[in-house]
């Protein structure tokens, strides 16, 4: 699946997009965040305040307990600040 990062999540992670294949035990968005944090200090830093990180699956807002099975694109970003 494709991961996208925006705003300060992107800056801290040091990457805008990547293709990943998470291990089988990663069932939810929350699990995915926990797994990403194990991938290195940049990711640990980007997701340190994981409770404020927002997520979208296939361009729709989801909560951290959303299942990721079947997702083609998952995005992580800070609370939005448009308007």
């Amino acid at each position: 699946m494709r991961l996208l990062y925006f705003a300060w999540v992107k800056e801290k992670a040091g990457i805008a997009a990547e293709e990943i294949e998470p291990p089988a035990h990663v069932g939810t968005v929350g699990d995915l965040i926990a797994w990403l944090k194990t991938r290195g200090p940049e990711f640990e830093n980007a997701f340190a305040r994981s409770e404020v990180i927002r997520a979208a699956i296939d361009k729709s807002h989801v909560r951290h307990d959303a299942k990721i099975a079947g997702a083609r694109e998952i995005a992580f970003f800070p609370p939005v600040t448009g308007g």
């Binding site: 925006f6 979208a56 361009k59 807002h61 995005a75 939005v80 448009g82 308007g83």
Partner: protein, 152 residues
Amino acid sequence: MIRVQKEDFDIGAEIARVRAGRTDIGAIVAFIGSVRDQAGEVSEMTLEHYPGMTETELERIEAEAKARWPLQASLIVHRVGTLEPGDNIVLVVTASQHREAAFEAARFLMDYLKTRAPFWKRESGPGGSRWVEAKADDDEAAADWNKKPAAE
């Protein structure tokens, strides 16, 4: 109608297009959000967004407004890219027979846009550059709409 663009918009021309050829509109509300410089602290603002999701969310928000109020037309235009103090950021226009619906829908669109549309602002100034923090107020304003009764 929704649009995401780098270019500025012409407020008068956008409003004229919304109402063009119609004589059944009694009330139009336009909201314009612009880059505000707080005491020389902001020299530049950059708007990042999530292409594809932004358009989907704006369309969803607009559809929700049209389901709640009897709108004859509506428009959301949001800019992305690098802007300066005084520049336009967003334009929301609502048209209805009566002013209540036009006012409420415009405010709803702004409240929802502020909490759901995937835009992020980064401000730069003499003191450096920083991502703008989301306001708890905005979340509350958007949540309040779910406590209110539906369209009159």
